[in-house]
Subunit: 316 residues, 2 copies
Amino acid sequence: MLALMNPQPKTVTTLREMARATTIIESPRLAERLGVRLTIATETFQHTGSFKFRAAYNVASQVPQSKIITASSGNFGQAMAYACRLLGKSCIIVMPDTSARVKIDAVREYGGTVDLTNVNLKSRNARVAELAQEHRDAYIASAFDDPLVIQGNASLGEELADIKNSFDLIIAPIGGGGLTSGLITGLRKAGASIKVFGAEPLIANDAARSLRAGHIIANETEPQTIADGARTPSLGQHNWAILREGLAGIVEVPEERIAEAVRLLFSLANLKVEPTGALSLAAVLTEPELFRDFSVCCVVSGGNVDTEVYRELLGQ
Amino acid sequence: MLALMNPQPKTVTTLREMARATTIIESPRLAERLGVRLTIATETFQHTGSFKFRAAYNVASQVPQSKIITASSGNFGQAMAYACRLLGKSCIIVMPDTSARVKIDAVREYGGTVDLTNVNLKSRNARVAELAQEHRDAYIASAFDDPLVIQGNASLGEELADIKNSFDLIIAPIGGGGLTSGLITGLRKAGASIKVFGAEPLIANDAARSLRAGHIIANETEPQTIADGARTPSLGQHNWAILREGLAGIVEVPEERIAEAVRLLFSLANLKVEPTGALSLAAVLTEPELFRDFSVCCVVSGGNVDTEVYRELLGQ
């Protein structure tokens, strides 16, 4: 009976049916401003507003468990909640009890159970471990360090490889490395030799330091970059194995370039993006000579941003 | 020689190749909030950021003249400038000398010649007439009242008719009536019987009053609605002939509903829209019972909005 009640495990093909195709935007004015041939691939209109749905849906559809537990105060939690709703599964999302009301509401509206934790008394990982003891039938999902996450994000790489008159290079935000390793995996699977660059906040540059050192280096404390999707402590092990030899390079982006990219995308491309999503365009602003005259695809990873934060960025 | 230098007249088929397909967005959270099955068709990523490109390109490609003159302080001017650039034609856009710098810059960056006029001394139409005398070889283009405008906008109606699991009804902003009459024309051409509703600001409700009266009624003065694309003095004659019997109805939208729709599209659909573009969603907020449980397509007409105006709307 249980086997019947659970949806059939889905393949990546099914993910490509379920995920919304990425939205391709062109802005000649922005391209002229940057001095590159520019294509924007935005995941802001992906289900739940970020690329994370690709990974979440792939995880939730591939694992046999009908219950999933994960810690996320951001996009992965919303994505997992909605993926589980679509699949008839249940999930518990562990969030700090200081999370913004809009983020808690979003997870709940997508159908997830929110578990609020006082992170001063107990870390999120400790709370997840506790819940895992209580729910021994549940799958504990990582937001980035899981082959199923990479496989899910690879669907975006395959999509970008399919585009006619393709690109010289693709730039994408790098936090835990799930998106960039997925892009590399998908492009390779499709037989495309497009280079992939990571765009990382300068004040959260553990991935750039890892690439220079030849091994994973973690941030000592959580870096307070405005690009909150890149506040991850370090690259994931699974991702590192792909990135160490597959990534063409990492651009380290100052905070003010992130804000400038948010404003340029607003005014010249009509695009609402979250700060993390603006990192790829900010990388072109930071290293214009590196990219000049190339055909560049900037991946915008998501659009979910607090209204007041966004108003402040626009007003700067 | 001249005939060779001018591009060949284009057909609507070619417009459909040149125009970007409209961007379809779904937001289950927004749909649940509104109580309708909701699809958003947004023209914010159309070339130059609004549906006006469809009309402008159709006009510029169909008329034999290689020079076009029009009065526009808004989206039609940018659209015409870019359409002419693509077609190797030239254009003069008459704008009030009080126009925002960003709007003047946009027309110039798209390749148009800006003619700044002190509208206290000379109306824009008087200035256009003056320029028409100087440039007797130019085509004088209307932003909405021209069969070629309707034909251009019809391409959006055809696109929407092509969508699988189509809609019960489509709601679109109404100002001069070019968009709604184009939608009706395109849907009919495609053999679709989807109803079309107009969404008009309550304080600029000349179209609603015209429909009630059975003849065109003009606004006495320019209505100061925040939806500046709907500040047109009256419906166009060509549009009226289609709308008087083809429109299912008009919803008159209070200003505060427009602002609310801008915020909802921002927070629940990651969509940056200009106030005029938010009118269709605002119509559902204004008359929820009229649309409840129907499959509704809200057309977002454009996204070009002054940053400060937008920040204020978000902050309300």
